[in-house]
């Protein structure tokens, strides 16, 4: 597996003509996308369009029926045990419904990535990190609770903490603000902003146009299992037919955003649009 990242033009994760199905139903129908290194990509689409499956395929949690998924140029399907371990250490995943381990308490849920990838940290250091990470997200319940004792929103916060506690290079987020109140959602926005500042690669699938408006360096629209648009935020909002998605219409209505200067300040080099389009295949 290729070592150390940091060419922003190079895709961290690339999907090539991916098809995936479940229970005999086709969910992804030749999806192509290239999520650039160090940038935040947001994919939006209606319910049942294949967003979650797209994210899980990209994260190597669902094996596609055909097509390939590449992590920094290397195909996930060919990863050996060590490559797989390195990939998992470098990634974090926020599940739509939390997916916390019901038989483990909150502390164990959150510290599990540390126990797997940073076992040299002692239990007290892990617990301290867990408190810090959960605290930043506004979680103020006990660490000895089981997930079933928490609300859906609190479970979501714990799931987010579990995904970022080991400081991964690449974070996948499935609807990260679902079930959250406005204050909690703001804290999640702050976390995503922090990840962007640190040039982490973030891939988000969401129903909310707010996430796209605030954070999308790349914006994709998925419909019927195909990415019908994928490019820079301005490009997608400007060129994609509003009819493709109500979200695009809402983003257009919000007008231009003041995000470009921030990206320049972060020194993120924009990949060549033409090259990206060719990677994105079905744009």
């Amino acid at each position: 597996m290729p070592e150390k990242p940091s060419d922003p033009a190079r895709p961290a994760i690339e999907l090539r003509d991916v098809r995936a199905s479940s229970g005999g139903y086709e969910i992804l129908d030749g999806a192509c996308a290239a999520f650039p290194e160090g940038l935040c990509s947001v994919v939006m689409g209606p319910a049942g369009s294949g967003k979650s499956t797209l994210l899980k395929v990209a994260a190597g949690l669902v094996v596609p029926d055909s097509g390939s998924v590449l992590y920094r140029g290397a195909e996930l399907a060919r990863f050996g045990r060590r490559d797989e371990a390195a990939f998992r250490a470098a990634t974090g995943f926020v599940f739509q419904d939390g997916a916390l381990w019901a038989d483990q308490n909150i502390l164990t849920n959150v510290t599990m990535p540390l126990r797997v990838h940073k076992a040299w940290l002692g239990p007290s250091a892990m617990a301290e990190l867990a408190r810090e990470t959960l605290g930043a997200l506004g979680y103020d319940e006990g660490m000895a609770f089981r997930p079933a004792e928490l609300s859906a929103g609190e479970q979501k916060l714990v799931s987010i903490a579990r995904a970022v506690i080991h400081e991964p290079q690449l974070v996948f987020m499935d609807d990260p603000t679902a079930n959250l109140d406005e204050d909690a959602a703001e804290r999640v926005y702050a976390l995503i902003a922090k990840l962007r500042e640190r040039r982490r690669t973030v891939v988000i699938v969401a129903n909310s146009s707010e996430l796209a408006y605030r954070f999308a360096d790349r914006l994709g629209i998925i419909k019927g299992g195909r990415l019908v648009a994928f490019g820079s935020y301005e490009e997608t909002v400007g060129t994609a037919e509003a009819a493709l998605s109500g979200s695009i219409a809402r983003l257009k209505a919000r007008g231009e955003r003041a995000a470009a200067p921030e990206r320049e300040r972060r020194g993120v080099r924009e990949p060549d649009a033409g090259a990206e389009n060719s990677q994105a295949g079905d744009v």
Partner: protein, 260 residues
């Protein structure tokens, strides 16, 4: 033609299911070999499995063993003298309890208690995406979830079988005291002189095979759950049904090999 096509499809599905099951079993064995060689976060799961499958089944196993031992003695002591074969009582006790009923009934108890629990627990984890969450943090579900259950069930099965044998023979002793009071030393001496290494080996071989069957079938059925929570009880039922059938077939096979 439609019937033939349907039969063909069903046969192909069964064949691919069998191959998938064999691949699953191979992976479990491979990961079991690695389990003790590396620092594992799965030790806690292993200890919990031994506690649930082994320790918590001690009482039911003891009651069942004492009752069965007593029943064999009651039947034997009323039937054998009619044929002038009272001296065979100890041989029958050893053969029936140690070679056959000990491992078989213990396997049934473990299937009913732990097999269903394992299948439904893993099925629930699949539906709640907990298995995907383990993969996402870098834990291999076979290594972390299946292997500790596999080892835990096999170890518990072996220990519970020995336990069943001891209590089965003890139950028999209680009946002997009621019918024909015998000093414990004499009773144990007669038993030990009848017991052979082959009896012990036969019982433990069956216990090992049955433990492998229950654990692999139950974990496999748990992982076979796809999306709906309604599949979870079905997985439990399939785990019990398939385990019972495979245990009985394996019992016949091992017995045939030992007596051939």
């Amino acid at each position: 033609m439609a019937i033939i096509a349907a039969i063909g499809r069903a046969a192909r599905t069964k064949a691919s299911g069998l191959l998938y099951g064999l691949g699953f079993f191979y992976n479990v064995l491979k990961e079991t070999g690695r389990f003790f060689r590396r620092k594992q976060v799965g030790y806690k799961v292993l200890i919990m499995q031994i506690l649930f499958t082994g320790y918590e089944a001690l009482a039911i196993n003891a009651v069942m063993a004492i009752a069965i031992g007593a029943a064999i003695n009651v039947i034997g002591s009323s039937l054998l003298p009619q044929f002038g074969q009272s001296q065979l009582m100890y041989s029958i006790l050893i053969v029936v309890i140690t070679r056959e009923l000990g491992p078989l009934l213990t396997a049934f108890v473990i299937t009913a208690r732990s097999g269903t629990a394992i299948a439904t627990q893993l099925g629930t984890m699949v539906v709640n995406h907990e298995i995907e969450a383990y993969i996402a943090v870098g834990l291999n579900p076979i290594s972390y979830l299946v292997v500790p259950r596999f080892i835990g069930v096999v170890v518990s099965m072996l220990v519970l079988t020995v336990y069943f044998n001891i209590f089965g023979l003890l139950g028999s002793f209680i009946v002997v005291q009621a019918v024909n009071p015998t000093p414990i030393g004499e009773y144990l001496g007669a038993l030990m002189s009848t017991l052979t290494l082959a009896d012990v080996f036969s019982g433990l071989t069956k216990a090992l095979v049955f433990g492998v069957i229950v654990s692999v079938v139950s974990t496999f059925q748990g992982f076979a759950v796809n999306r709906a929570s309604t599949e979870i009880p079905v997985a439990g039922i399939k785990a019990v049904g398939s385990s019972f059938i495979l245990i009985i077939l394996a019992d016949v096979l091992v017995t045939l090999v030992q007596y051939a």
